[in-house]
């Protein structure tokens, strides 16, 4: 193209002790270009972006921005040069309102009233309606992301970096985001778009750079290449979709009937009249954006929050008032979303973390005393069977990468041969190869006669492995429907809560039909 590139990256190399995170990475972005950065976890995307945003210094190589040499020493320098970034994890204060949150992240601060007007104006011109006075704690994930985007746009960036922006959005919300991003690029700003959702990239991006093990392995125009081909380039091998076999539905193993719960934490979501059942050999997929009651549902099922005995039935026995250990003995196992601090204790070794949930079923306790040799053995088996990359079972949990720890905590439950397994976001932040392995393990478990409940934000994942699909929206669960024959549109409506309200409090009048 004849345009001078906005950003050139030339031979960037960054080494951390033990790994070469980026090895001679080069590519360039034209003004107005939407450029995808693709790669598995650990491929070096984050390191590259950190160097562009001034969070890390390259060991070798050079960057130019708008033709001038670009060496940001810190994020403020990057922002001053016109580079803005929306992180995957939002840095917002729930107890402050939108305008206050934006003011906190802005270096050149206009007076409050002008700021509110600017927020409205920018929001309107980019199709991101947002009330500056609303509390962030009350916003949905999509709305919170808008706050972050508007915060960036107010600085008139030349380059906007988006890190996994659609991971928390419904399909409809993602469409709105794409619309906004196209408007931004039409205005002349370039966008560096990091994602592992190949279909998103194929609809949105002009060019893609694919990283594997720190190196650029390909540059392509995503529209002209199939998603399967891109995936192969990312992983470096052929990926086979999980194998599914037809199976006859068995007896109902887990039944939830009219489960209502008040939130445990501030800004938590109450559960409202939740009901579903799962049969042996089936996978129930529960979709919906995080924060709509997923955590609360998992805690009710795991026994961390107790309910009326009859609200949760395991093989027709009311277990709603039973503590977690007894539920595990029966065969109901859970794997929460938050790996560090909930599913695993960060400063404990993998062996100690094996005892956390496997004490009862693996017989790791005798007369009050723990069988550490047995625990270590079990931890080793999890590590081996689920390809957890770690020096050994004595390593503390927080030393593992997110994906590896996820493999460990999911593997820990699956190896205990549960009768019913409940998982929340099982492949969140896990690279494509490992995610496929986890999904296959869940399917194999169901095939072996277990009932699986999979709570996830990733609709593709749910469609891939589930027999039944329903969605959580503001604590309401839609009626489960067979996945076969479900259209994307219907799923979107379920996620948006359109099918949930009819189960709401009896006697409540609907304002609109």
């Amino acid at each position: 193209m004849g345009l001078t590139p906005l950003l050139t990256i030339d031979g960037l190399t960054k080494t951390y002790p033990g790994v070469v995170a980026n090895d001679d990475v080069s590519f360039h972005l034209a003004p107005g270009e939407i450029h995808a950065l693709l790669g598995e976890n650990g491929a070096g995307k984050s390191t590259l972006v950190k160097m562009i945003y001034g969070l890390a210094k390259p060991d070798a190589g050079a960057m130019t921005l708008g033709g001038a040499p670009y060496t940001p020493a810190a994020p403020w320098a990057a922002r001053a040069a016109g580079v803005a970034m929306v992180f995957q994890h939002f840095s917002l204060f729930e107890a402050l309102n939108v305008a206050e949150n934006i003011a906190l992240g802005t270096e050149t601060l206009p007076p409050p009233r002008a700021l509110a007007a600017q927020i409205r104006e920018v929001g309107k011109s980019y199709g991101l309606p947002l009330d500056p006075g609303r509390l962030v704690g009350d916003l949905s994930a999509g709305e919170r992301q808008r706050v972050e985007i508007i915060r960036c746009l107010l600085q008139n960036p030349r380059l906007l970096i988006m890190d996994e922006p659609t991971s928390v959005l419904t399909p409809q919300e993602a469409d709105i985001l794409f619309h906004t991003l196209r408007k931004i690029s039409a205005g002349g700003a370039a966008i560096l778009y990091i994602s592992h959702k190949l279909e998103d990239i194929r609809t949105l991006c002009d060019k893609a750079t694919i990283l594997r093990q720190g190196k650029v392995v390909a540059t392509c125009t995503p529209r002209e290449v199939s998603a399967a081909r891109i995936a192969e380039l990312m992983v470096g091998q052929l990926l086979s979709p999980p194998a599914r076999t037809e199976r006859a539905p068995g007896e109902v193993l887990l039944k939830v009937a009219d489960l209502s719960l008040e939130p445990v934490a501030a800004f938590g979501t109450p559960l409202r009249h939740i009901g579903f059942d799962v049969r042996a050999g089936e996978v129930l997929g529960i979709g919906g954006v995080a924060g709509n009651g997923q955590d609360e549902l998992l805690m009710a099922l795991s026994g961390e929050v107790l309910t009326a005995p009859g609200a949760i039935l395991f093989k027709d026995h009311g277990i709603g008032a039973m503590p977690p250990g007894q539920r595990r003995s029966l065969g109901l196992l859970c794997a929460p979303e938050e790996r560090l601090g909930h599913a695993a204790a960060p400063d404990m070794s993998l062996t100690e973390n094996a005892v956390l949930t496997a004490r009862q079923r693996e017989g790791l306790e005798r007369g009050g005393f723990l069988d550490w040799a047995g625990a270590k053995d079990f931890a080793r088996r999890v590590i081996a069977n689920f390809d957890v990359r770690t020096p050994g079972p004595d390593v503390v949990a927080r030393a593992l990468s997110g994906g590896n720890l996820q493999k460990y905590v999911i593997g820990r439950e699956i190896l205990q041969t549960p009768t019913v397994l409940v998982v929340n976001q099982p492949t969140w932040g896990v690279d494509a190869g490992a995610a496929a392995a986890i999904r296959q393990a869940l399917l194999d478990l169901a095939k072996g006669g277990a009932a699986v409940v999979c709570i996830s934000q990733d609709i593709d994942e749910l469609l891939e492995i589930s027999d039944w699909f329903c969605a959580l929206n503001e604590g309401h669960l839609s009626t489960p429907r067979p996945v076969r024959g479900l259209s994307m549109e219907e799923i979107g409506l379920m996620l948006g809560g359109a099918h949930a309200t009819h189960k709401a409090e009896p006697g409540a009048t609907h304002a609109a039909a």
Binding site: A21, S302, G303, E304, P323, C334, A345, V355, L356
Partner: protein, 361 residues
């Protein structure tokens, strides 16, 4: 720019190295302070750290004192450390210590003048029960009404002190004591005394119990499910809940154990080194033990060493006052420096110091 960066795993070398470096730094800084006060720094340090143990003139008296002072500190601190590890803060060990002493002494005096050999074991049990019962007040208030156990346990210390004064001047007063406050002397009456087991070592039954407690705590924390649950609840409360740890039960257990051992420590003290219930027989062991627990990193062996070190600075400090005329506040400042350096350097086992901007992965 100096920055602290969290280590991926605690550094083993620093866990042992930090306390040694802290003692050396205290010697340097303390020596400087003593020099400014016009004392010979080398001699001051020697009198505090060396003479109590190895000087011919003092060691005969000081060496047994080391264990007499360290015993209750270690015993109480071991009990406290279990709760502290689980995030349950018993600050009122001093009160449990006093009530334990009163109950144990009361049991012994009730049988006066019998010399039955079963009386002393009965006193130990009564002391433990007294401390346990006193700790149950904050425990039950916490689990039933969500009161703060820090405040309740602390304030109960002052209630216990009032009860102690009443006991010494009232219901436990020596009938043959010509109206002076204070109970009969337990240590001088066979059957109620807590004697030195090995002559010249200072080892009485309380010191033995402290050593047993160290071993028991090691086993509990490393091998037993309760120790595991204690550590889990302290490090990751959500994970503990997920694992099925019953928080209320843990609070009752931890406060109960720490109260019971503090009560026992009180009984051993009143039946041995102190000898009698007096208005002020308690000498702050319950509070000092909190420092000992943290100084020992809440680890049983660490607490054993910390208790001995603390006792040494007490004895050595007294000796320095006596022999060199070092003012008492300077000794306290010296002890404060030791604590400061120990806790400040602790950061190095979990963090490393980096120079420059953040470059983390």
């Amino acid at each position: 720019m100096l920055r602290l960066e969290k280590r991926p795993a605690p550094a083993r070398g620093w866990i042992i190295g930090a306390p040694i470096l802290a003692v050396l730094l205290t010697m340097v800084a303390g020596g400087l302070m003593f020099a400014l006060l016009g004392k010979d720094p080398a001699e001051s340090i020697r009198v505090i750290f060396w003479d109590p143990l190895f000087d011919d003139r003092f060691a005969g008296f000081s060496r047994p004192q080391l264990l007499v002072k360290a015993g209750p500190l270690i015993l109480i601190a071991i009990g406290l450390s279990l709760g502290f590890r689980a995030g349950i803060w018993n600050i009122g060990a001093e009160g449990q210590y006093i009530i334990g002493a009163i109950c144990g002494a009361g049991f012994g005096l009730a049988f006066f003048p019998s010399e039955n050999p079963l009386i002393f074991p009965g006193m130990i049990i009564a002391g433990a029960l007294g401390g346990w019962a006193w700790a149950m007040i904050p425990a039950i208030l916490r689990t039933r009404f969500r009161t703060n156990e820090i405040l309740v346990s602390l304030l109960l210390v002052y209630v216990a002190e009032a009860i102690l004064a009443t006991a010494a001047t009232g219901f436990l007063r020596n009938p043959d004591g010509a109206g002076f406050p204070g109970s009969r002397n337990l240590a001088r009456h066979p059957g109620t005394d807590n004697p030195e087991i090995f002559a010249g070592t200072g080892v009485h039954w309380g010191v033995m119990t402290a050593f047993i407690a160290v071993i028991a705590a090691c086993v509990l924390l490393n091998r037993h499910i309760l120790g595991y649950q204690i550590k889990l609840a302290g490090q990751a409360p959500r994970a503990a809940r997920f694992a099925g740890v019953n928080a209320a039960r843990l609070i009752i257990l931890c406060l109960g154990i720490s109260g019971a051992v503090a009560g026992m420590a009180g009984l051993f003290e009143v039946a041995g080194p102190a000898g009698q219930i007096s208005i002020d027989f308690n000498s702050g062991y319950g509070f000092t033990a909190i420092i000992v627990a943290f100084l020992g990193r809440l680890h049983p062996v660490g607490i054993l060493l910390a208790g001995l070190l603390m006792a040494l600075t007490f004895i050595g400090g007294e000796l320095a006052q006596l022999m060199l005329g070092v003012p008492a506040p300077a000794i306290q400042a010296f002890q404060g420096m030791l604590l400061f350096f120990l806790l400040a350097l602790d950061v190095l086992s979990n963090y490393q110091v980096r120079i420059g901007y953040r470059t983390a992965a």
